[in-house]
Subunit: 427 residues, 2 copies
């Protein structure tokens, strides 16, 4: 890789997500050469991907060019690279654009969808972890309505208008709510010649409550909100397969559906080379100590979703969400500088700032450490917090305007099939 030599120690960061960017910002203007590698040239605000899928937001307004984040930092280098392996012995990373030596390495490669080895589901269902995936889902949803108009086969039409979302974490809940609002507010106007009352939105959850990481009260209220919107919530049902036509479950329940969105699990996006006992086989996350150091190495770290810091309080590591990632990134920034100055490292302590999910207009649930609330105020808090964490003034303004517009007009104007999804298969 074509990076100039430097007299400063070189820190290589793999991944420009919440963790990687928070770390990079901490290292700006220090006596370090920092190289950030990512498969994409943008940082993407994952919590709002479901709004891209449902036509509420443009993809460009929840993405931010990584080069722009780094532009005022001296000694910073960005490379668009897909890292395939880490050579821990020779201290180098190997990628599609060549290899690069490091003095310090930070793996911040995030997470990917976990299909738990189920090939039929992996092959036939939709994911929503990246912007292209979210755009594919947007196209598929809209193409299905167009196709539903064309068929006089009732069976086929119902399958085209049947949506099954597997997994009732924040992603599944937010997507289900958004689809229900589209069903109610947009479809009857856009498709006057289609009986859109037959659109079914199913949210399937293996556990006995939705939003299981949140409070009982939040779960209960979110479920009420979803039912108000006409979403069918199925609890204690585990999806076992999907052949592209029929979703099977561990009970007699089946769904005939053209669209299945898999939001039932994520796993670490670990990288070859760190695959000894430091890699936890179940979660595919890299085990780190309280300094985010990878077991057995002094100069290799992992932060964010890909890192699992097992403590008494967090037997399965921290939640795979933005907050722990940002906090670990910032914390490691300080620790790296201590390490270089041969000062003792400080252990990471996660500050749980709470969690939240939105179901629809005026409908959200918020759990703060001190108090919990639901409804209109929660919904405003949810919007405010999401706007605050978006990177970039323009993005905030454009997202804000879209939200105001969508709220006032009960609309979502970005219902555009820019790149057809089905046509990939039908030439």
């Amino acid at each position: 890789m074509n990076i100039p030599k430097s007299s400063f120690p070189r820190v290589v960061i793999i991944g420009g997500g919440f963790a990687g960017v928070a770390l990079a910002k901490k290292l700006s203007k220090k006596e370090l050469q920092v190289v950030l590698l990512d498969k994409h040239n943008y940082h993407n605000f994952q919590p709002l991907l479901y709004q891209v899928s449902t036509g509420g937001l443009e993809p460009d307004s929840i993405a931010y060019p990584i080069r722009k984040i780094l532009k005022d930092f001296p000694n910073f280098y960005f490379r668009l690279a897909d890292v395939s392996e880490i050579d821990t012995e020779k201290c180098k990373v190997i990628s599609n654009i060549g290899s690069l030596k490091f003095d310090y390495l930070v793996v911040a490669s995030g997470s990917k969808t976990n299909f738990f080895g189920n090939k039929s589901i992996e092959d036939n269902s939709m994911e929503m972890k990246t912007i292209p995936q979210s755009l594919n889902l947007r196209s598929l949803i809209l193409e299905n309505f167009e196709d539903a108009l064309l068929t006089s086969n009732l069976h086929e039409r119902n399958a085209l208008m049947n949506f099954v979302i597997v997994g009732a974490g924040p992603t599944g809940v937010e997507l289900a709510g958004a689809l229900a609002e589209i069903k109610k507010g947009i479809l009857p106007k856009d498709y006057p010649d289609l009986d859109t009352r037959t659109v079914q939105i199913n949210l399937v959850q293996s556990g006995d409550r939705i939003l299981k990481e949140m409070s009982e009260k939040a779960s209960k209220k979110a479920e009420d909100f979803l039912e108000d919107l006409g979403v069918h919530v199925w609890k204690n049902v585990r999806v076992t397969g999907y052949d592209g036509n029929v979703v099977t479950t561990n009970s007699d329940l089946t769904f005939e559906a053209e669209t299945v969105i898999w939001a039932a699990g994520v796993k670490g996006a670990a990288i070859n080379g760190i695959d000894g006992e430091e890699l936890l086989s179940k979660s595919n996350r890299i085990q780190v100590n309280e300094f985010n150091q990878v077991k057995g190495f002094n100069n290799i770290f992992a932060i964010g979703d890909v890192a699992q810091m097992t403590t008494d309080q967090t037997p399965y590591g921290h939640p795979m969400m933005a907050q722990p990632a940002i906090q670990q990134g910032k914390h490691l920034g300080d620790n790296l500088l201590r390490l270089i100055e041969n000062k003792p490292l400080k252990p990471f302590k996660y500050k749980d700032k709470g969690s939240m999910a939105t179901v629809g207009r005026n409908k959200a649930v918020v759990d703060l450490p001190k108090f919990k609330f639901q409804g209109v105020f929660a919904w405003f808090v949810w919007m405010f917090v999401h706007l605050f964490f978006l990177i970039g003034f323009r993005n905030r303004l454009v997202v804000f305007i879209n939200w105001v517009y969508n709220y006032v007009r009960f609309d979502r104007e970005a219902r555009l099939i820019i790149r057809p999804y089905k046509n990939k298969f039908k030439p």
Copy 2:
């Protein structure tokens, strides 16, 4: 095609561009069944595609869902369909989703890029007629800069940073100006480790002036503006081939370039079935009379880019631009109603409202019928007119905010490679 029977006469419109949409609006609330067919589910504002390619605007804000345009019109049907043939004898259109009988047919299928039969150019150069094509170009431009960083081969690096735009109509001029502004304002910050002064922007024109449809003064001033921005303008040079590496011309001049944008010609997007003497072989446009009626038919019409109305004033038809398309759409709307009521048709008369092109910030040229002006004021007029013709309040607002932001910050934030272009070839 699954369209309900109706006692009203059926008008089928092929194409939801400027002409088709203007016509559809005229026919709303009349005693007609109107079926609009388009390959895309959105209307796209072509004059701003170059800003999508250069990261200044989101694609979603220059597109508008066709269903939303039609939503308050009774007896209107939209179908996402690719029409392959017109059966003029049996009065039906044949498409990928089946066939449909019509009482009246309006072909408003627009235009496509004209490579004048040059296969090497067609295979290797980029087009900018649709949103996906514009996004491909955006990706390619950005990928080229990323690749330029990786190579130490000076030859290869120069080719990656050499842009050749063929054709100096409004599209070519506007794109060249936008690229020049990126070179000046964004590249040095984004790529501090690349000598971006070596970026070359070449605008090649076979005629002896740029913007040849505009006044001599506009041409001259636009050329000055481009030269101020560092664009190389080549006049009286005809590009003869491009093998993916080297652009050849009718002179000794050649360019080694990875990116060639072909903006040197368009032709009508005529449809099989109307291919007798009514189809003009050179322009691939359908010959129509002064009522936009296709030669030899009473109930088949063509409007917009695909129609060529040859008169003494317009020996090559009207310019293939938004204005004639909109005017013909509106005019035909009135004429169709006259035809149905057995009233005499009124001939179409084009009102030339003038033309304009922008080169960069504070740099535009405007030719109005009564007076011509260039510079800052022209630039404001250009922006105002383009905002005015955009469909939809949200789109106008989002575009306006992006323009203000880009102007104040000398920035273009949508420099995102959402779907890599080169990766299509390199798996």
